[in-house]
Symmetry: C2
C-alpha cells in the first residue's frame, strides 16, 4: 500500500457506495507533502514520455499538477470552468457533464498555451465517469497536440471512466484504484479485502 | 528586482491602467519553479510567526499556497466559491464582492479545518481592493483563530486593499507591489521608473 492509499484509509470518509470524501488532504484541505509525493510518482511514471506540458482543471487538480510539473520541469495549464474577464484570448473549449452535480460545464483554455508541438500529460484528482478527463483530452486534440497519458490521483475502478479512456488507446496511470466502497470499507484494486 | 518582478516585466501584459494579465505563469498557465520560489519567499517572511495553517481561495491562490505549505510544513485550506456536494460539514462563510466582475460570491470553508488553536497565514495571488483577503480574514476570525498575516504574490499598490488590511494591524507581505500600470509600463514600488 502506497502513501496515498494509507492516507485514504486513515482519513477518507466513505459517504455512500459511490462517494469517497477526501476533503482533509486533497479536495479542500491539501497536504503539501503528500502532493509532492504524488507529483513525483506521476513524474516517475511518465519520465520517458517526453512530456512538455501538464493540463488539469480547477480547482482540485491544481496542487498535484503543480508538484508533477515541478518534478518534470514543465509548465501546468489549468482549464477554467467559466470564462474570466482577462481570458480575452481565443479559446479551446469542451463541454463536461458532471453526474455528481447533474450539470454541464464548459471548460476552456486560452489556445496560446497548448500548441501542436506539445506532448501533454492530463492530470486530475478523481476519475469516475471520465467526463472531465475526456474533456481535457478533447482540448489536447483540438490543439493538435499529443495526449501522452492521464495521471489520476484516485480512480473509482467501479465506474466506467477508466475504461472509456483506456479503450481509446490512451495510457491511464492512477495512484489509487478503488474497487469498492461497499459497507463503508475502502477496497483497492488487487486487494482481496481489508 | 526579484525573480517574480522579472517575470512580470518579461511576460505580464498590461491591458489597461488597472489590469495586469499574468496568465502565462500565475492565473492560467502556472510556472511551478516560480511557485516554488514564491512559496519559499513566503515561508522565509513568516518563518518566525508560528504558522500552523495556510488559508487561500480557489483557484489561483492554490499553487503558491501549496508551495508555501510545503516549505513551512503546514496544511493548506482553500475556500470554495460555491458549495460542492461533499461539503456537507458546518461552514464558515463570508461574502466577497468582486469589483472586476461586479458580483458577490459567498466563499466558504468547512469549519473543521480551522480551529481556535490555529495561527493562519492568508495567501492570495492578487491584492487589489482587498475584498477576497478581507473575506478570508473574516473566516479566520469566525473560527477564533489568529490571523498572523497576509502573503500576496502581486499587490496593486495603487488600489486600496493593502491599506484596508494594514490599517487593521494585520501584517501584509507582497512579493511584488505595483505602483502604476500607466502607459502600458509596469512600475514597482520603490522604483522611479523603468
Amino acid at each position: 500500500m502506497n502513501l496515498l492509499q494509507q492516507k485514504i484509509i486513515t482519513e477518507g470518509q466513505v459517504l455512500s457506495d459511490s462517494i469517497l470524501k477526501v476533503d482533509s488532504f486533497l479536495n479542500h484541505q491539501i497536504d503539501p507533502q503528500l502532493m509532492k509525493y504524488i507529483g513525483e510518482e506521476f513524474a516517475g511514471l511518465f519520465a520517458e514520455a517526453g512530456i512538455t506540458k501538464i493540463l488539469t482543471i480547477e480547482s482540485s487538480g491544481i496542487a498535484p499538477s503543480v508538484m508533477a510539473g515541478l518534478s518534470l520541469g514543465v509548465p501546468v495549464v489549468f482549464a477554467r470552468k467559466r470564462k474570466s474577464l482577462t481570458l480575452v484570448d481565443q479559446l479551446y473549449s469542451s463541454k463536461v457533464y458532471s453526474f455528481t452535480k447533474n450539470e454541464t460545464n464548459e471548460i476552456s483554455i486560452a489556445n496560446s498555451y497548448i500548441t501542436s508541438d506539445d506532448v501533454v500529460l492530463v492530470i486530475d484528482d478523481f476519475l469516475a465517469n471520465g467526463q472531465a478527463a475526456l474533456g481535457l483530452i478533447d482540448i489536447v486534440e483540438q490543439a493538435g497536440a499529443t495526449a501522452a497519458g492521464v495521471g489520476i490521483v484516485i480512480e473509482k475502478g467501479f465506474q466506467n471512466g477508466g475504461n472509456l479512456i483506456r479503450e481509446r488507446g490512451i495510457r491511464v496511470e492512477s495512484l489509487a484504484i478503488i474497487d469498492s466502497l461497499s459497507d463503508g470499507i475502502v477496497t483497492f484494486k488487487g486487494e482481496n479485502s481489508r
